[in-house]
Amino acid sequence: MTLSIIAALPLLGALLLTSLKQGQIESIKRIALGSSLITLAATVLLALNFEIDRPGFQFVESYSWIPALGINFRLGIDGISLTLILLSTILVPVVLVAGWYESEGGRFSVKTFYVLVLVLETMMIGVFAATDLFLFYILFEAMLVPVYFLIGGFGTGARQAAAVKFLLYSLFGGLLMLASIIGLYVISSNQIGRTFDIGALGMLQIDNLTENFLFLGFFIAFAIKAPLWPLHTWLPDAAKSATPGTSILLLGVLDKVGTFGMIRYCVELFPDVAKTFTPLIITLSVISIIYGAILAIGQRDIKGLIAFTSISHFGFITMGIFAMTTQGNSGATLYMLNHGFSTAALFMTAGWMISRRRSSTIADFGGLQRVTPILAWSFFIAGMSSLALPGLSSFVSEFLVLVGTYTRYPVAATIGTVGIILAALYILIPVQRALHGPVADGNAGLPDLNRRELIAIAPIITLIIGLGFYPKPALDVINPAAKATIIKAGMADPLPAVGGEK
């Protein structure tokens, strides 16, 4: 089972779909789900063969692609990318099952929806597995196209405006990154010959000023994607307009490309400069944590709420990455995984609530606990995971990030801790309003989760609880890679200072 075959599986499914007629809705859905499940199975098989203690990239593949420009089709994964690929391949079938009817009633045909999702899955696997900068960039940019059509074609409300805003923001970042990539490419062709191999690019000798600019090109692109304050404004719009399924993929996976890029490209390619910018970036992350949390508290729209909680969470992830400690780094990666699951659970349950109630205003959901207990409990667990309740998966990662940051930036970590308190507010207030209290008008007859929905939510909740009690398998995979990143960045973990010995 090679990476390229896994990446090609969803694409094959998409090709199969194009041969079907538009009217065959059920078979279109089954084939789409089937190919995403096969992809998941293949990825799990691959993960079982992953050797935890082997340094460097595994399952490496390399084919010559555009020799004239030194571009190769080069794939390989380490613990970080494996985690994220697993996340993507788990979320896609879950999204398809959860939003079984999401594809209907959009501007485009049902078939188009599934073709777009499957093409997107191929690109998601590819973007995490790419070890050639050019390949990464191509997928990074090309991913925008299916997402754009998913938001604009199947969303609700001001979907066109949201889709265009998303696209332009991302393109702007992407083109800045392109300028940096060109710079890096020219430097590499002067020093070691034309190459985009990220291993080789990390060895280049670049003068400090140039390196600063190159770093910024990459960082801004990823900070838009992630999104970090103040480049976040596209996210709430996109999340509000997109269908819940698209939002899960957008926040759960696509935004992770930003944080993943910060580790793989910003920190590993420009370690020296990354250190220069660290104080600034940590500050921005702390602002993101607090800002996202405060705005989340004020949200009346449930999708907007989840979007702003994510901005807060991405603040934590970015802080963990740039703390430049092993704990911070592996905490950040684990956070990416857990945030994927808890956001997926939140959006799924929110989506069901919205489709039942035909409203996305939090106040309209009053009393769901009594009417639809399973739905309410699912939302509650997802919310608890989002506020990092001990025993649920996010707690481990948030704790690691804060500990990892504290050893180097105690002030930032301390302020970041406030985010946890705010998180309790932004989750508990809607839980109280939406689930408890008297049954609001029109909520009395709402049906609880059906079997399909249970099948969709069960694995995610299992993972949230399972990884909360026993995060070792995930950490075992992530830790060596995180350690390698810190070594590549030329940093050592600070020893915990013992009081009085100074």
């Binding site: 020799p67 501007r107 074609g153 083109l175 800045l176």
Partner: protein, 505 residues
């Protein structure tokens, strides 16, 4: 002093000779063939000539000579590549022109006059457009091959004069079309004058008209720098006019809009290839020794052209005008390739020209299909909801637009990447940064068109796409496939260009 008979290497000149001969035959056919036979004959001759000429280009591959016509024509790798590109574009352009419906029956009839009505009614259709196209193609093939100022000027005129006429041949909105032709002619004549003026000064500077001679004097000779600068500036004005760079771009939108769309397609694609081919030769071989004098100016022009083209395009409501401004922005990108002044610059420019030419051809071909009862509809507001009515064409048009915008997996991205990296290599970082930012602006208006086609509700006056002729449709498909293929597997073409991209002095 006796007259020396010129020595010509007919084999090296064969591609151009075939085209010119076919053009002359076309004129004779136009005069003598019966009205019934003429249309098919007039299409067959140029198509055959283009194919024959293309085979000649292929047999000439690897040739590199400066003595093809008494030191005034160079045949080398880039020239042959450009000639091949022009021929492919000409072939596609002829197929578009063959959809004869868009041309005036008799160009000489006054718009709205009884003569015109009679000619249209009786089907007495003139077909002079084919020989005109061939003359233009011949001129375009000579333009990048010319290696002295006189030949360069002759080629310029041979390619321009037929284009002026062709721009005025539209069947519908004839006044607009004739206005475009007149504007193009007047401004073109003006720029030709500049060009000649510059040539005279360069001759005054070097005492020679050949590029080699000018180069020698610049590097070693005792020339007068004032003459050099004036000459260089004036010649650059002439060239920049032809490629439509800011501030010499004013004709572009009017001509693109007024000319029959098939002609616009051919002109937009092929003229750019020929003119940039010539510009490459001049700046890389003739005046490369005086790089200090022209490079800063070209940097400024490239930057302004990219920004102006992209910004003005935003406010356009007409699809042909929008594409015209987009072509201006692309001119800026292409000037970046000239600034690079290195081997990768040549490779990148040639690749960009070939792929951009084809994409442009396809885009305009597609525009010619969007019609309502009275004819083509170029008002963007009426393109709303096009995807509902003909999803296939809307998807292909989006592909072209994405390629113009330089989104990965399209040819446009590879072109932009290679041209920017070539410029960066030579330290033109400011141009690269501006180019990248201009791309963001440009992306905005390309995306707006996509939004209109896909996401807006079709109104009552939305247009339909007529069932297209096989010719136009095949052009569109060829362009679409190449645009996609060159975005995913550009390797072979880049290798080919890389192996031939040495300009001979």
């Amino acid at each position: 002093m006796g007259f020396t008979a010129p020595v010509l290497e007919y084999s090296a000149l064969a591609p151009m000779l075939v085209i010119f001969a076919a053009a002359v035959i076309g004129v004779i056919v136009e005069a003598f063939a019966s009205a019934k036979l003429r249309p098919s004959l007039q299409l067959a001759i140029p198509l055959g000539a283009v194919i024959l000429s293309f085979t000649q280009v292929i047999t000439l591959r690897g040739t590199s000579t400066t003595t093809a016509a008494m030191q005034s024509v160079v045949i080398d790798g880039p020239v042959l590549f450009l000639q091949g590109t022009i021929l492919i574009l000409a072939f596609l352009g002829l197929l578009l022109i063959a959809d004869f419906e868009q041309f005036a029956a008799q160009a000489s009839a006054i718009p709205g006059s009884p003569e015109e009505a009679v000619a249209t009614k009786t089907g007495k259709v003139q077909t002079e457009i084919y020989p005109l196209t061939l003359f233009a193609v011949g001129g375009m093939m000579l333009f990048p091959a010319a290696s002295d100022l006189i030949t360069l000027f002759v080629a310029l005129e041979v390619l321009s004069l037929p284009l002026y006429l062709m721009a005025g041949l539209s069947r519908r909105r004839r006044l607009l079309s004739q206005e475009a032709a007149l504007k193009y002619f007047l401004l073109g004549a003006y720029s030709s004058a500049f060009f000649l003026f510059g040539s005279a000064f360069l001759y005054g500077f070097a005492g020679k008209v050949s590029f080699q001679g000018i180069h020698n004097v610049i590097t070693s000779g005792p020339g007068n720098d004032v003459f050099l600068l004036i000459g260089l500036a004036a010649i650059s004005v002439g060239l920049l006019f032809k490629v439509g760079a800011f501030p010499f771009h004013a004709w572009t939108p009017d001509v693109y809009q007024g000319a029959p769309t098939a002609v616009t397609a051919f002109m937009a694609a092929a003229t750019k290839v020929a003119a940039f081919g010539a510009a490459l030769r001049i700046y890389y071989t003739a005046v490369s020794g005086a790089v200090w004098s022209w490079r800063p100016l070209l940097i400024v022009i490239a930057i302004i052209t990219m920004i102006a083209g992209s910004l003005i395009a935003i406010s356009q409501r007409d699809v042909k005008r929008m594409l015209a401004y987009s072509s201006i922005a692309h001119t800026g990108f292409l000037i970046t390739g000239i600034l690079a002044l290195n081997q990768s610059g040549i490779t990148a420019t040639l690749f960009y020209l070939a792929t951009y030419g084809l994409t442009t051809m396809g885009a305009f071909a597609l525009v010619s299909l969007v019609r309502d009862a009275p004819g083509e509809v170029t008002d963007l507001n009426r393109w709303v909801g096009l995807a509902r009515r003909s999803p296939q064409l809307a998807i292909i048009f989006s592909l072209f637009l994405l390629s113009f915008a330089g989104i990965p997996l399209t040819a446009g991205f590879i072109g932009k990447f290679s041209i920017f990296s070539a410029a960066y290599e030579n330290g033109a970082i400011s141009v690269v940064v501006v180019g990248v930012l201009a791309s963001v602006i440009a992306a905005f208006f390309y995306i707006r068109v996509i939004v209109m086609m896909f996401f807006a509700e079709p109104g009552s006056d939305s247009v339909s796409v007529i069932i297209p002729s096989r010719f136009t449709m095949s052009v569109i498909w060829v362009a679409a496939i190449v645009t996609l293929l060159m975005g995913v597997f550009p390797g072979p073409l880049l290798d080919l260009i890389g192996s031939i991209s040495t300009l001979v002095r």
